[in-house]
Symmetry: D3
């Protein structure tokens, strides 16, 4: 997949000739009744608004509905001033709407920067380390299934929060599994390892499988599905495991073993008020919970720090960041070397 | 089933010759090393401690372990004085341990006062009113199954809280369903009925089916099962429905219909901090939640008011009641007629 | 009372010639200093904005201040586009301001759809069932008073939340009383009825009388009075009862009886953080509290579901609904028959 | 009133011959069935347990029920050892039960150390400073009434928390009024005094009048009355003011003025979760609230520091103190002079 | 310092010829691309927006960036209408930007109305009353230092909350000290003064010294410094005391004494969730905490009541006030004389 | 150091001849006034009560006060029965009190099972990896100081919670640093490492240095010092760093660098309600916080699971565990191999 242009990094006057997704479309009308259109166009690496497409050029936007992929020709321009000044794309030619069957949607939605194959490599290596054949098979119910893998690698880690990118779920699960395995190892003492490493790895790999059914990746963006709302990704994970075990026909593991893995999934948010119907009752569940928190919060921190717009006027201290419980962040003005 | 004696209502000196359950057994030793035993004996209508069985009679308690059913012979006696004075059973003969295969455990555990058949009659009438054949069949997956009914009618509504009695779950479900149906009716307006009455009734009937697997009824009393702890009765309900639908082989309802009923089960605690992984998103789920609260809280109130021990020295104002969020209750000293 | 037109249901181009209330008036000025006016007009069944009344027609809006009743002539039009497109009334003639003494304000404020007489019939039937003459008289202090009835039937259940309509309080009280009575009945067991049905009904009927003084119904809409803010409708209810009993001169009930009814009023919000200065200490107070919750929440649910604007683009899942604790609602796409 | 002996300060072997209140009585029985009695005896300055009164002397305790005043003869003794060692009264003669009509109960209950007349002097001086004749009369409805004053000066500030002593309410009200007046003065700025000093003083004087009906002073100790539980001292204060104004017949103040004073009473706990049905909406209510907090918390601190038992083994750091939100206190080992 | 004009009190048409600070500058562009500028101008007594400076006069605003002091010539004008109508300054001549070295910034930022010398007099009198020479010296580490005094008297009490004015911290500290001393006095009982008055006064004087480093006073307004965010004013206070004691070289007080004063600073917010890392463990810390609350909340109340904009249309009841926990305030319509 | 005997693992009848610490001493008296003594004796690997030392042998316990090290001779015995049966040490000879100068206290307090030198090796290796010389020197201010190391390695991680053992702090710090470093590594993406690894490691190493002054290790056990209570270990850490930097005289790092490290210490509890006066504002602080949580919670989990007493009667489900927020734990009855 070619690396899509970073729109926000283009300088004023730079020529744009790219395939972009219509992130949003706003049809307005001037006071004297003349229609005009405002679009936001974007790809995997960000988005920019267009300058207004006035009535005289209105046909330029024909068919460019939210979620369409269009060929846009224009140049980078500025509007507003001072603190509020922002870049926009000034179109200089009609948009050409692409045939959706000819484009790969994932190239036009926010996407992780990682090489997906490399992440799959990490994930498969981690599950390959599971010693128990039974447990490895349970994990394989999902990760040996190519159809599942295809959906999984496109699913975001959330719709608007941490890892909200195509591939975000894959990256998040690799992070959680690596951190959880590390915690389990560090806690080892002369009296032995406190946690079953197999269970820690297996539970970490499976903890968020419900998100595959809970989130949708549409031309219009990421969204939560009805069952994501009505059942929730936590319970969905347990139900999906139940279904795949049942569908096997054969006995893969005991009911008690199944229950133990379902507990790892159900307890991963750590407490009731954060949506887990039960709290962690095994050390494996406890470790997975903290690894999940560590990955989600550190990732949100990384994303927030990468968003220059939170530091107004180049201030050292940011505005409040919703995704981090309305905290302010600090970008220091010194280094240590 | 004969009505078991109300031990607490027997007067001092009254002769006891009853089959009772050993609620607890405490083996102690006097300072000079002589062993003695303290038992608590009970049946469906309450319990009393025994006077100490001193070392000279220690064999009287042979085999009378917690959970056994014994034939007890003795008389009602008092011990302690003043506010702390309580009744006890002074044994006058050896306990005879019954063959467990010859007794019906339910007669010896706290039990609802209602006629169980009558409650089943109410429940079956309520489900018979469901108009949608599909939905009636979904409910029937459980309530047409005699094995399920047998377990269901023995299950308590909780292990230590509301409806903590054999048959308590049956009674609670009838209460919730009747209240929910009534709320749905009362809310009707000229613009129509706001809720689908079928769904309200079906969801109310099914909301607590998970308790059948979450709670155990043992000779030693009510307890929460491992899966009751690890999965929780709310998610268990959704899983049990999933399994029964899957076991059918044939298609009973659409996935979306199944999801809707599972939502009714999952949302019935109303909010995350009370253990529901999702909050009510349909008016039927909302109504079932409030009916559940009404039944649970009103029933706890009834039980607390029936417990004379909370009103010390006949005070109008009770001690704090744990089951009612540490409230104090008032027993008025006047009437209205 | 004739049924006022449902403005929101009129199709584009439909001619409007109706008496409507000026819900709000916004005087603005264009950049070149020319004044124009935006109005929102409404009646008991909803409201719509007008198209701007430009400076050339500014006299059309003379005297049409917030709260006035005007005769409006025009037609239904659209403005905005896409998700934001909304209906408006395009006036085609000057507004005629009505003489306020000639209109019944209630016809122009949001109003319940029910027949008020029928609701009074239900309410009076419920209070007629009270067995205790004393308690019936206490309730009669309010509901035998025609002046009180007249104000009561115009009062909304809240100013912006549940039952926020003329007649909303009357409907809410009927709902609460019917639900409370039903809960009391359902809870009956072989050992008797747990609650005094008379008190449940009487307390439910009186629980919100304070709203009559706490809310005002003005041409400009519903508002909370100073004493509604400074004393609160809960304590106002207790004070109003105190005053009516005192004003009798004669002894209607004992101080303890009065205290018991005041407790039902004071405790009906269930807990301190929701504004009740005391928590329910009698089962009657407990039942009234849950019936109140059931009616308020179910009614808010009905209102929210009727508001199409919460389902953007016809989505199955709504936006967050403030009145329901920022929950999202689900409008299913299937049925059960 | 003579100063009652400080029992806890008497040294071992000191002879006791005092009139004391039976704070509690515990009738017990030894293992061999012989009855014995444990009493706790106390007066306004504290209390001590008695040594067991064994069966041979059991008649010594005849009639010495909880709440009786008895003439006790004995000496100070120790029991237990180490950290648990405590003083007790070893009786050496039969208790003589006093005729209750001959004793003043207040001398035998925990009592403030202050001179009550002096506190009344402070209170009457504070209310004498009120400039508005109307407001002074409103305050006088209570404090010009000798019957009210007699009850008021005996009422504790709470039953187990701050100022839980005979006279505690009087002292608390003087403290709150003095602090509130001081806050009002300190806040004065060049643009004037922010608060109406009259209202601050009047509201402070009246804020806790409801405690006169909410608490009872019995031979058995302090307790909350049924109306203290069912209505609460906050609402009782507003109701009592309502009644006294109504009982006047004549018009003392406008309804709006009455409402303003009732608001000062109702809002004095500052927030809903602490039992105020409304939050402070005037600066006078705000000031009274903080003065109330300051007096209550500082007084609890003084009482806790005076309780040596919280500092085990003479530790610098105390055990957790329930009355101060489970904080630990520090008694420093140095001084500043 | 001359009293700056109260802009908000000038009537329409009044001529303006004043030095004012550019509180904010907004560069905008009309639809046809012509730039215009909106400024907000202010001084110590308030601020007003300007009418738009259209493109033809754009040079009038040259150099008038946020934080500049300008000489403004124009007249008071109105814009908007109805509830939204507000005053503005219509400039009639170019702004003249002042040389920053010639102006005293404090005259152009919100400033307390008090005479600063008088407040210093109060503060120095309060610290002069400290009996302990050691403690007086500890306080003198800050208040004998002219450099500290100069910064201290310019620092606001907060950046957007209570006492958010030049001099606000000085005034707040005087208020807190006076109130704390008063509470300590009022709590005196026959058994003595509960609190060490010296410590109460010293702790109150020092409790907020950290704000001197935590807040900055810039031409652009008040702000929190990086160390104010990263360390917090509470811990900064303890660190600053540590540093000043260490810098002395000589021993001023014992480590335990230093620790006691640091505790007074650290505990002054009263509880962890409000930012104190420890809760008050001495009565002096407790009293200072409540005095701090009283000053902060009463002052916020005064400021809110002075802001006419919270009472829309002259309503008795205000809009919700963010600074007072979203409470509504009441401005009564009656008086008491 | 020899491995102290595991008292709890000795079988009944096993001979005891060990040096043990008097964990607690309870002097009691029988009803007939004869004194007897109960001791609890323990070492680094646990503790057991003694059988009562009756009056005839009372001199056996002479001088054996809490905190003494004694030579105990006796044998393992049982007392109580059933669920309550426990082991005790039946002494058979007088205790011999050791000269405290001849024993190493750490051998007699709960102690980690790890080799301390190995932990120091891990810690020093971790700090050796710090690239920045400045930062390495800051860390060295503590860890290059042999006096500090000696105290540090004896300090527990808490007094009653996680890592409450001699050496517990050392182990906890190694765990936190290793986990934090691992999180930092896992979060690396194609766009680089999100966190400064040096700061993550340095901050983790220093985050709990304040515990060295906040906790005391006494013969009587672990305790919190007065400054641990009054200042708190979090702020103590920042103050100790301040002092060591100041004591250097020379400039080790800039004020901003110092502030950044102090922020890592101050923010490590993550939120105000858990005692951090500020929340994490840098990704390094965020990562350290989650690593700290992971180590503390996983370690508490390990300790709880090792405590057989929480699983009554060998139940799969434990009693509620205070240290883990009153959760119940599960010890599964199956394995995965």
């Amino acid at each position: 997949m070619p690396i899509p242009v970073h729109l926000a990094r283009l300088s004023v006057g730079h020529r744009v000739q790219n395939e972009l997704r219509v992130v949003s479309r706003d049809n307005r009308r001037t006071r004297d009744g003349k229609p005009f259109v405002l679009l936001t166009l974007g790809n995997a690496n960000g988005e920019l608004p267009t300058a207004p497409i006035w009535s005289e050029n209105l046909t330029w936007a024909d068919g460019a509905e939210r979620g369409c992929i269009v060929q846009a020709i224009g140049e980078i321009d500025m509007f507003g001033e001072g603190v509020r000044q922002r870049k926009q794309i000034k179109l200089t030619a009609p948009l050409r709407v692409m045939d959706p069957s000819l484009v790969r949607l994932e190239e036009f939605l926010p996407r992780i920067a990682d090489d997906v194959e490399q992440l799959w490599g990490s994930l498969d290596k981690l599950r390959g380390e599971i010693q128990s054949p039974t447990l490895r098979s349970v994990v394989g119910l999902f990760f040996d299934d190519d159809v599942f893998r295809e959906v999984f690698e496109r699913t975001p880690g959330s719709t608007r929060g941490h890892h909200a990118k195509v591939g975000g779920l894959l990256r998040h699960v690799v992070e959680v599994t690596a951190i959880a395995r590390s915690i389990a190892r560090v806690m080892r003492s002369p009296s032995g390892a406190p946690a079953n490493a197999d269970l820690v790895v297996a539970g970490a790999l499976l903890h968020d499988v419900g998100k595959v059914e809970a989130y949708s990746v549409l031309p219009t963006g990421f969204d939560t599905t009805p069952c994501g709302h009505l059942i929730g990704h936590i319970v969905l994970g347990a139900l999906m495991l139940e279904r795949r075990v049942a569908a096997l026909g054969a006995t893969l593991c005991s009911n008690e073993q199944l229950m133990e893995v379902q507990h790892l999934i159900l307890a991963h948010h750590g407490s009731l008020e954060f949506g887990s119907p039960v709290r962690p009752m095994t050390i494996e569940a406890e470790i997975i919970h903290w690894a999940d928190e560590s990955s989600a919060k550190a990732s949100s921190f990384v994303d927030a720090m990468a968003d220059e717009s939170i530091f107004l006027d180049g201030s050292e201290i940011s505005e409040r960041v919703w995704m981090l419980d309305n905290r302010r962040l600090w970008q220091k003005g010194h280094d240590w070397n």
